[in-house]
Every structure is written in C-alpha cells, then in structure tokens.
Symmetry: D2
Subunit: 110 residues, 4 copies
Amino acid sequence: MINTENLKQCLREFAAVRDWEKYHSPKNLVMAMSVEMAELMEHFEWMTEQQSLDLDNKTREEVALEMADVLIYLVRMADRCEIDLNDAVKRKIALNGEKYPPLNDRANKK
Amino acid sequence: MINTENLKQCLREFAAVRDWEKYHSPKNLVMAMSVEMAELMEHFEWMTEQQSLDLDNKTREEVALEMADVLIYLVRMADRCEIDLNDAVKRKIALNGEKYPPLNDRANKK
Amino acid sequence: MINTENLKQCLREFAAVRDWEKYHSPKNLVMAMSVEMAELMEHFEWMTEQQSLDLDNKTREEVALEMADVLIYLVRMADRCEIDLNDAVKRKIALNGEKYPPLNDRANKK
Amino acid sequence: MINTENLKQCLREFAAVRDWEKYHSPKNLVMAMSVEMAELMEHFEWMTEQQSLDLDNKTREEVALEMADVLIYLVRMADRCEIDLNDAVKRKIALNGEKYPPLNDRANKK
C-alpha cells in the first residue's frame, strides 16, 4: 500500500555522502526518531483537541516538516533493520482488525 | 517518493466502522503515536549498538510491527491535519541537504 | 528543595546486587526512562483534559506507579551523570522565572 | 525517601501568578514532560554508551537543566493528580524488588 523504495535509496545515499553510516545503528536511529516525534508533539502540548483540528497555515507547515522527519527516520531505520515496512503495515492492519472488530460485526455476533 | 493514498483511505474506513473518529484529534493521535514509538524503542534500550544491527528473527518481526504502528498513526494524523506527507518529505530532504552539505561539497568549498 | 540522597543510595544498591551496573549508561537509562514516560502517557492518550483531572482510584494508582518509574530512572541517571538534581532544579526555576515573568511584573513594566 | 512538598508549593505559586492553571491538565502536563524528556535524550542520541558516561562540563550542565525540567513537570503533574510521589516510589521499589530478585536470592533458591 505504501512504496518506500525510492525514499530508502535516497536516504542511503544521503547518509553515505556525509559519512553518517557509522552513526546509523538502529539504537541511535530510534533515539533520533523519538526526538523528532517529541518536536512534533511540542506543537500540540497546550492546544485543545479542537485547536489541534484547526491548525493555521504556519503551524500546519511546521507540523508537516516534523512529520517528515519522523517518516525519514522510520524509513532509514527499517532499511538498517532489513524490514519491509509495507509488508509490516499490511500484517499489522490485519492484526488490528482482528483485535478490534468493526461495530457491525460486534452487533451481528450478539 | 512515497504514496500513502491507499493507506490513508484504508485507515479512514478502519476508524469510521469503529466509530473512532471522535477520538482522532491530532492532539490525541500524536500522543498515541508517541506511545507506539516508545514500544519500538523498548526493544533497543539495553542493547549495544552492534546488537541493534544484528536482530534475531523474532525481535525483527516484533520491531517491524511496532514500526508499522508508528507509520499507521503518522499517515492517519497527516490525513486529519490535511498534510501531504510525500510533499513534506521532499521539502524536508531538500532543507536537510542545505543544512548538512555532503562531505565532497564541503571539501570543494575549502 | 528536594532531597534525593536516600533514593540514590537505595538505587545504587538495587543495581549492584542485580549486576545491572554494566547496563546503566546514561544513554541506556534515558531510553528506559523515555519508555516509562510513554507508559505514563498511554493512560491519557484518549482522555479529554477534564477526564485527566478526574481520575478514578484504579487509574490514579496505575499513574502513580508509572510516575514512580520515571522518578526512579531520573534519580538513577542523575547519579550516573554525577548531577545534583536539587541544585539543577533551583537553577532551572530561577531561569524559568526570568524567561516567563509573572503577570503582575509584566503589568508593572507597561 | 524524597520530599517534594516544598517544590510542589513553589510550582503551584509559579503557575498561579502566571495564570497557567487552565493549561495544567494532567493530559497537557504529560505531553509537556515528554517533550522535555526528548530534549534530554537528544544530548545522547549519537553518543556511544562510554561517551555518555564521560560528559564534558558544558554538556553535563545542559543535561542537568533538562533533567530539572522533567522533575519539575513530574512534581507538578503529581500535584494535579493528587498523587504522593514519595509513597508511590516506595511501593514501586518494593514491587520491582519482588519482580527482579537479587542475584544472591536467585542463587539461594536453586
């Protein structure tokens, strides 16, 4: 459902030409990704839920770039762990679907 | 570089048939995503960097499913914020490229 | 304002008799503390702000134990970094007081 | 083992004179505390474990102030949740002691 192949190749080259591979252990990458996640969360910490649904354009752009940072590290870390993200997402959605059945199915089972 | 359209539609429907839309404010979603991120990080907290590069198959599969959870929430949150993740990633990589020039470029500028 | 000396000694011994010192680098401890923080946050991810102010007794107890985990790791990490938490808190509150003056002071300066 | 009463009172007043009480729901405070935790973690993301044990004075001071931020939010949040942190720490250490017996005890039970 989601093809991260191009992004993966791009990030490999990005790290290689900066000599960053030595830093890119999964342990370090998950720490860096968590830091980006918190920078994303910082935008929302004092907002009400409603405000978080009505972002102004400046905030939306800042939020978009923080989300991009998380996605970049996620794809990079998956590559370093030899994990196929698309395949993992498919399996996880199937698992979630079993764990939390739709309301209709629950009603039908009563 | 990365097409999240199908996954976005899938997650919209997943939330709708469970009556979860009322919970899916960006404020709540970023909290839930951070929790999934920490579940991912938990696998690595006592590992050495080298161990994190040599995951056994059982751990790799658990890590893959936690990464999927992060990606699922990221795509869902982007949808709720009306953010185009692919576009954001392109702009962020360009910004990162300016902020951290490749080693060759730095050498050439000396 | 806060004396963590006893707790520090207790945690030193706790780690020593379990042969955990080799795992307790600040890098590892900050990861473990972040995981505990997320377990604390998980209790609040789908709550409204008002609900988070009206915890039932069972949830309050679970929240209390997660907060304890964060504090335990914080005191342990400070010890491993040779940091005096009480002293740091005093200086930080002074810095915060300068950064965010009280409303009265702001009014008086107008 | 740890007395947070003075700090609690100080933080109450700090919030009151800035009219911040309306923002200080536990849901918001746990988000803000998580952001501070990530700012603490950021110092360690690319360090080796050994480097994290040998901080230079400048980094140690920055780390100390980030740890103070976490502790400040922790005490403030406990107050807003009507939680006694000292009591929670005592119970948690007892629980941890049962969950992870000391090595000697384990040897004796063989």
